[in-house]
Symmetry: C2
Subunit: 190 residues, 2 copies
DNA sequence: CTCATCTTTCAGAATATTCTGAAAGTTAGT
DNA sequence: ACTAACTTTCAGAATATTCTGAAAGATGAG
C-alpha cells in the first residue's frame, strides 16, 4: 500500500508544479520534468522520464536541454552505462537563485537596454534649449521622460537586488529574508 | 518634428512592454494596453485604445477588464461624456506592489495549499510507528517528505516577504530595497 | 418607456505554442 | 573503421491561446 501513496504524492506534485509553468514563462513539460527529478531526488535517464510522464523522446530531450540551460538540472553518469542521467538541484534556495539569475539575464537586462534606448529617443529639457517648440509639447515630453526614468530606476533597483541575492554573498540576503519574515515589524505599533 | 518623436518613443515602449508579457504570464494585448495608458499618462476610452493599438472592441474590453481586476488601471469619467475612460497607476512602486499582491493571491497561495495537501498524502515518521513497512520504503518516504517541507518553507518565506512588501508598512521595505542596492556590502572585503 | 449610446460576451477564426516521431547526428567500444 | 547505443533535430500534427466582430446586455437621458 505505502508504495502507491508515494507514487501518488509524486504524481500530484508533478501536476501542481506543471500548472505553475504558465505563470513562470516556461513550458508545462519542462516544469513537469523538473518536478519529477526534484521530487524523486534520483538521477533518471531520458527513457525513465519518457515513460513516467508519457511524453515523446523529442519532447523529453528538449525539456531536459532547457533545464540544463537554466542550470537547475545537471548531468550524471553511472559507471558501466552509456546513458546520460539527470539530477535536479536539491537545495531549494540554490534552485531559486538560479532562476533569479536567468530571469535577470533573459528579461531584466534586455528590458533595461530597451528602456535606455527609448529614453534617448526624446530630447531632455536641457538638450532642447533654444529650439522653438510649443510649451505644451515640451511639457508632454518632460512628463514622458519622467515616466521612463521612474520605470528605469525601478528596474535598476530590481536588477541590483537580484544580483545581490544571486551572488556568493547572497546567502546573507537569504538569511535576511528569512529573518525578516520572522521578525514582527508590524505596521500598527507605538 | 518633435511630436513624431514622442509618438515613436511611445510606440517603442508599448512594443517592449508587450514583449515582456509572456514572461509575466499575461497576454500581449493586456500588457500593450497597460503600456499605452502608463506611457501617455492620460485617461483614454475604449475607442482611443482600439485605434491606437489596432485591436478589436472585444479584445480591448477584455484586456481593460483584466487590468482593472489586477488593480493597476482605474476607471475615470469626464463630465458631459457617457464614455468610460481608463487611467494607469502612475506610481511605479505602487504598480509593482499591486502585481505582487495579485501574484501571491493567484499563484503562491494556491500552491501552498496544494503542497500542504500533498504533504498529507504520505505518513510522517512519527505517525508510522508499529506498521510493518520495509526500511527502504520508510527511507524513501522520509526523503520525499523532507523535499516537500523544504519547498513549503521556501514559499512560506516568499509569501510573508511579499505580503510585507505589499502591506501599508511595505513602503519601508521599498526604502530598504533601494538602500540595499546603494550600500556597498560587497563580498570581498576585510 | 423608448431610444441612443456605450459595454460585455462568446462562438468561431486566426495565431502561436508545444509535441511527436522518424531521420540525422554523435560517441564509445571493439 | 564499423557498429550499436544513445542523443538531438525538426517538419508537420496536435493543442492551446488569443482575437474578432456581431449580437446581446446595460445604462442614462428625455
Amino acid at each position: 500500500m505505502s508504495g502507491d501513496a508515494l507514487i501518488l504524492a509524486q504524481d500530484r506534485f508533478i501536476a501542481v508544479w506543471g500548472q505553475m509553468s504558465g505563470a513562470w514563462g516556461i513550458s508545462r513539460t519542462m516544469a513537469e520534468v523538473h518536478a519529477l527529478l526534484y521530487i524523486t531526488g534520483q538521477a533518471l535517464c531520458t527513457d525513465d522520464i519518457m515513460e513516467r510522464l508519457q511524453i515523446s523522446r523529442g519532447n523529453a530531450s528538449m525539456s531536459i536541454r532547457s533545464l540544463l540551460d537554466w542550470g537547475i538540472v545537471e548531468r550524471a553518469h553511472k559507471r558501466g552505462d552509456r546513458k546520460e542521467y539527470f539530477r535536479a538541484e536539491q537545495d531549494v534556495w540554490a534552485l531559486f537563485r538560479a532562476i533569479v539569475r536567468e530571469r535577470i539575464a533573459r528579461e531584466v537586462d534586455p528590458l533595461l537596454a530597451s528602456l535606455h534606448e527609448i529614453r534617448d529617443m526624446t530630447p531632455t529639457d536641457r538638450a532642447r534649449r533654444g529650439e522653438a517648440i510649443p510649451e505644451s509639447q515640451k511639457h508632454a515630453a518632460d512628463e514622458h521622460n519622467k515616466r521612463l526614468d521612474d520605470m528605469l530606476q525601478f528596474f535598476q533597483v530590481l536588477e541590483k537586488l537580484g544580483n545581490r541575492f544571486v551572488s556568493p554573498a547572497g546567502r546573507g540576503l537569504q538569511l535576511a529574508a528569512t529573518l525578516l519574515t520572522k521578525m514582527d515589524v508590524g505596521g500598527a505599533r507605538p
